[in-house]
Every structure is written in C-alpha cells, then in structure tokens.
Symmetry: C2
Subunit: 255 residues, 2 copies
C-alpha cells in the first residue's frame, strides 16, 4: 500500500442527515486504502433521557454506568455504525463496521477507578495491524465506532479522537498514514470568526509562538498538541478540516 488515510468525524456531521450524506459521498471519493472512525453525536444522550437513565456527572464528565454503556453500544456500535456502513455501500464504498471486539481488532484497558471512577470507559491498549492490513488488502473500508473491549468480555466506551489516533499509529506498520480530523470549522483559524483565516501548516517549530501569542487557544490546544504527538510518533500528517468539501484541499496540516 502506498498510503492509508484515517478519517474521523464527530457529532456535528452525524447529527445532521444532510451533512452526513454529503460527507459519505465525499469520503467514498477519497482515493486509496482508508479507514473511518466516528464519534457519537447527541442521539445517545437523547435515548438515555427517553429511558430516564440517571446521568451521573463528575467534574463535568459523564459517568458510563452499565445502563449508559448499553445505550452507547446500541447507538454507536449499532444504529450509527450500521447507518454509515449502509450509506457508504449505497455510494459504492465497501465499508465494514467494527467495534474493537470484532476480530479483536482494538483492545482497551478500563480506566483506573481512582481518583474518579468513570465506569465503563477505556483507553486504547493495542491495535491489531495485521487484521487491519488484511481488510485493506481485500478492498474493505473499516468503519470504527468508539466501542472497544478489554478482551475479557467487557465492552468499553472510548474517546473517538483517541481511537482515530491509535488506529492511525497502528496503521503506520502497514504504510505511511495521513490522519484527518473533520470538525465544524475549515481548519485551525487565526481568527475564530473568519473561516478564511485557516493556518495552512503547524509544525513543532511554529507551534510554540502560535500558542504563546494566543492564536491557538482553548479547545484547539489539545487538538493540535495531540496531532503533533501523533506526528512525532510516526503518523505522516494530521489534517484538521471541515467535513464538507472533503477533497478541496483546505485545512490545517500538522507535520
């Protein structure tokens, strides 16, 4: 394989049927071996509310108790994953939906219960690059939800950005990997109000001044720092960009 593209979409695409349809068509047109990782969106929260599950929050973060684990497994690994896979098949993209348990392709470790017990939440442990390689060689397009397993029968809810990064790092054993995070903006913006102010490139060299002068701030800091880390660990490039017009070349490239 010449290269592998790993692409992550989040709730802003998943919650909008028209945006999702457009995205799936664009994704189908991405050339070469590729992998999709999807987040969850608001459906799981809405379902939990309709089921009157008690939402437990600690430090502003939701605890995944057994009831919530069942909900996210149903919504992420079931409904959303299969709708995306069927939608991709309809546009000629041979998608195959996966949780981490399927083929034991990604294992996670349940997060320590100290200082805060987040419940059935995991951090990625290992990606089975051989199986991933077999699938890509067979022309399949793996589509990951963020539901992983611990190898001992327990499903774990993971962070979709982390899943994308881990899968991308795992895939570097097979070919050069370009990782793309789609979000609601056209890229990392100099001016958050101006979609035309996309910073074209961020590197380990130009990042510190961008952070120091406040150009990159708040929620973009972890995104960019995780991207720089992925690059330092072997991913060829990380692009932060909009999910619309996926193939127009606009976005911030971190390398």
């Amino acid at each position: 394989m010449k290269k592998i593209t790993v692409l992550k979409i989040g709730g802003n695409v998943i919650d909008n049927p028209e945006a999702l349809k457009t995205f799936l068509r664009e994704f189908a047109a991405v050339e070469g071996p590729k992998i999709l990782v999807h987040g969850g969106g608001k459906l799981a929260t809405r379902l939990a509310e309709r089921l009157e599950l008690k939402v437990q929050m600690v430090d502003g973060r939701r605890i995944t108790d057994k009831g919530m684990l069942d909900v996210v497994t149903m919504v992420y690994a079931g409904l959303i994953n299969k709708q995306i896979v069927a939608g991709l098949q309809a546009v000629g993209c041979n998608a195959l939906g996966l949780s981490g348990a399927d083929g034991n392709i990604v294992t996670a470790r349940r997060r320590a219960s100290e200082p805060i017990d987040f419940g059935f939440v995991g951090d990625i442990e290992r990606v089975n690059a051989d199986l991933l390689g077999n699938m890509l060689e067979d022309g399949l397009v793996p589509v990951f939800s963020a539901i992983m397993h611990d190898g001992h029968g327990t499903l774990l809810n993971c962070n979709a950005d982390s899943v994308a990064t881990s899968v991308a790092l795992g895939a570097t054993a097979l070919a050069p990997v370009d990782l793309v995070f789609c979000f609601e903006k056209a890229g990392v913006l100099r001016d958050p109000e101006d979609e035309m102010s996309v910073i074209p490139e961020i590197t380990a060299e130009n990042y510190p001044p961008l952070k120091a002068d406040g150009t990159i701030s708040k929620g973009m800091i972890p995104k960019v720092e995780n991207a720089l880390k992925a690059v330092s660990q072997g991913v060829r490039s990380v692009t932060i960009r909009s999910s619309a017009r996926l193939n127009d070349g606009i976005g911030t490239v971190i390398r």
Copy 2:
C-alpha cells in the same frame, strides 16, 4: 476447508445470561470453521415499550416501521451482537460481528407492500461467499445479526432462521456445510413432554409418515420442511437441538 458449521441461536438463549454464557463456551469449542447467526430475544420489544413506540400488528405480525427498525438495529446489530462477540473473544474465539451491510456480505430485498406492508422487512437475496471464505480462511468467526441491507442505503429486518439458512447455502460454495438450529428442546420430539423422545433422523423418505400421523405438528412443520429444503439445495445436514451441551451429540439430524 473440510467443513463449515453454521449455528443459529434464538431468543431463549439470548434472554438468559447464564444460558448464553454456557452456550458461548460450548460454541467456542466447536471444531473447524464456523459461523454464528443470532436472533433477537425480548430486549427489542422491551426497549420499544420503554420508548412508547406504537407497535403495529397485522395478522398477528409486527410491522417494522422506521422507529422499530432503529430499535432492532440498535439492539440486534449493536448491543446483542457486540455482547456476543466480546463474550466469544473472552473465551478465545476470534468472533467478528456482521450485519448484511458490513462488507456488503448479505443483501436483502424489501418485502413487497402488497398484500401487507410489513415495513422495513426483507428477504435474503444474495450472500457474498468470497468474503465469507476470506474471513474463515483468516481464522475469523463471523457472527451475524439478522439486520441486512438492500445495497441502496436502507437497512432491513430479516428473519434469523432465514439468514442462517441463506448463509449456510452460500457457504456450500466453500465446503460441505452442517447447519444447526438451537432451540429450547433437545430436538424434534416424538412426545413433546418427553425430552428423551428425540427423533434421531428425519429424511425426505421418513418425513411424510411422521407428518401424516401427527408426530410432527404445528411449529415443527415449517422448521423441518425448511431443513429438508436446505438439504435438497445442498446443505449437508441440518440439526435441530438444544443450545445447552452443544457437543453431546443429541439432536435431530435432517439429511
């Protein structure tokens, strides 16, 4: 491959966590390439009730409207499928969960809306034996829910017995196939009250008198006739047996 075993379990196993655990251990011990097909159980109905979806019945059969399709996709292709896959991984069986949309492995055709419109219900059209063969050659154990797709972006709820039969027939392109239907009894019984009265073998020759004298009646008639049909179409054997003690050799073999 010397032979392939296709095994189907229904709600009576899925709804009982202890029975399911025992079954998964027994299934993991089945030798050679194998495929599991699972039905749904009561969870989808309970979830639909909790969501206060209106259950529409026609001629005693439930209509799968869009809301119900989402529920069965969540429960069958999501929760139950991933719990089974994670459970099998925990006992060393390299399971991979599938809907029909995944890898376009099974397509279905939406049932005609005349005389009764059952909604998003499909009948199996085509099984991708090549992909199934690749997976089995790679040592994977495909685990099918009964959620299929039409190839044009629509998921369809199918009958799990029909999925098992179609997958078994498709797999005959790869190797001799033995199909096993697990249910709550030890096999087809001469006396429904006596678990020891299992009829060991039914063939096209001894079936007509068994039906004529009422030994095989009611719900067993379609089961046995579908099994005879599968055998006439190329499945080597169909066994009807209990899901407990899967490897004890007891059951009714149709060939």
